[in-house]
């Protein structure tokens, strides 16, 4: 009887340890995947402004500071939805566009002087800067 109680307690301790290890692992992984962001306020495009859409002529790849690679598809279309101090923000018109940081985040492309300079995460009101801006091959403007 007593030994069964001891066995149950040992089992509970083992489960607790496993859960703690998994939690710690998740936190470490999360820290590993995280990228520095800064809080920003997007100034939305005024309703009276003309709609501005760009289309990429070829695929664009950009590396985040956590070493993950973000790809914008050739032919993808992006609509200007607002402005940040860092540049203009464009939302995907070709389906949901997300990037993987600490979590999967919807992202808008931020461009300045014809270059992709970072991403705006609208769900977190945060800006994520690229260490190396990438030229945006814009094929079409409306």
């Amino acid at each position: 009887m007593a030994s069964s109680v001891v066995q149950k307690m040992a089992g509970a301790v083992r489960v607790g340890k496993l859960a703690a290890m998994a939690g710690a692992g998740a936190l470490l992984l999360g820290a590993c995947m995280s990228v520095p962001t800064q809080r920003v306020a997007l100034v939305p495009v005024a309703a009276a402004d003309p709609v501005s859409v760009i289309q990429l002529s070829r695929m664009v790849s950009a590396q985040l500071s956590n070493d993950s690679l973000v790809t914008l598809s050739a032919g993808s279309q992006w609509q200007r939805v607002g402005a940040l101090p860092q540049g203009d923000a464009y939302r995907s018109l070709s389906g949901l566009f997300t990037i993987q940081t600490r979590r999967q985040a919807e992202a808008y492309v931020v461009a300045s002087s014809g270059k992709l300079v970072g991403f705006y995460l609208p769900g977190e009101s945060a800006y994520l800067s690229l260490t190396r801006p990438v030229t945006l091959p814009v094929e079409m403007r409306q």
Binding site: A19, A26, G95, R103, E124, S125
Partner: protein
């Protein structure tokens, strides 16, 4: 006789309650799900897994509010004003998704529970934004409605 009737009533009540737990399938709810109120968007949560090892549940949070729990083979939804949202588990341990919810828009969050081997305990809860909506709706067809937290439940479903 009276005791017998009371027992029967109790059994019937339990059966009704259990049937309520199971919930109707998404495919049978077409036309019964209320429309989204003006200015709001809708967030669906669903979990396809049906394996018993992943059966444990965790609370899910939309921004600061706990809105319900995941349940294998089930779905639920909450309506929120258009705006910015972060969806994660109760303890905000990193996994999750963030997005902009427009008025009239519906977002779909697929929840996957990672089991800790034979213990049956659930480790990380991972979430994924599913797009396009048709894909999410196809994945939800056979899933059963599992109510959100009490204030969010839809009466009659």
């Amino acid at each position: 006789m009276k005791v017998w009737l009371m027992k029967l009533a109790a059994v019937a009540a339990t059966a009704v309650a259990l049937a309520g737990c199971a919930g109707p399938q998404y495919q049978s709810l077409q036309g019964r799900i209320p429309p989204i109120a003006q200015g709001n968007g809708r967030i669906y949560f669903y979990q396809q897994q049906t394996t018993p090892v992943a059966a444990a549940q965790q609370k899910l949070r939309v921004n600061q509010d706990v809105v319900g729990r995941n349940k294998p083979g089930s779905f639920f939804f909450v309506d929120r004003p258009a705006g910015s949202y972060v969806v994660t588990n109760l303890y905000w341990t990193g996994e999750g998704v963030s997005f902009m919810l427009d008025a009239g828009q519906t977002r779909y969050v697929r929840v996957t529970a990672e089991s800790l081997g034979s213990t049956g305990a659930v480790g990380n809860l991972s979430m994924e934004l599913v797009d396009p909506p048709e894909r999410a709706e196809a994945e939800m067809l056979r899933l059963r409605y599992w109510g959100a937290a009490t204030p969010e439940r839809v009466p009659g479903l």
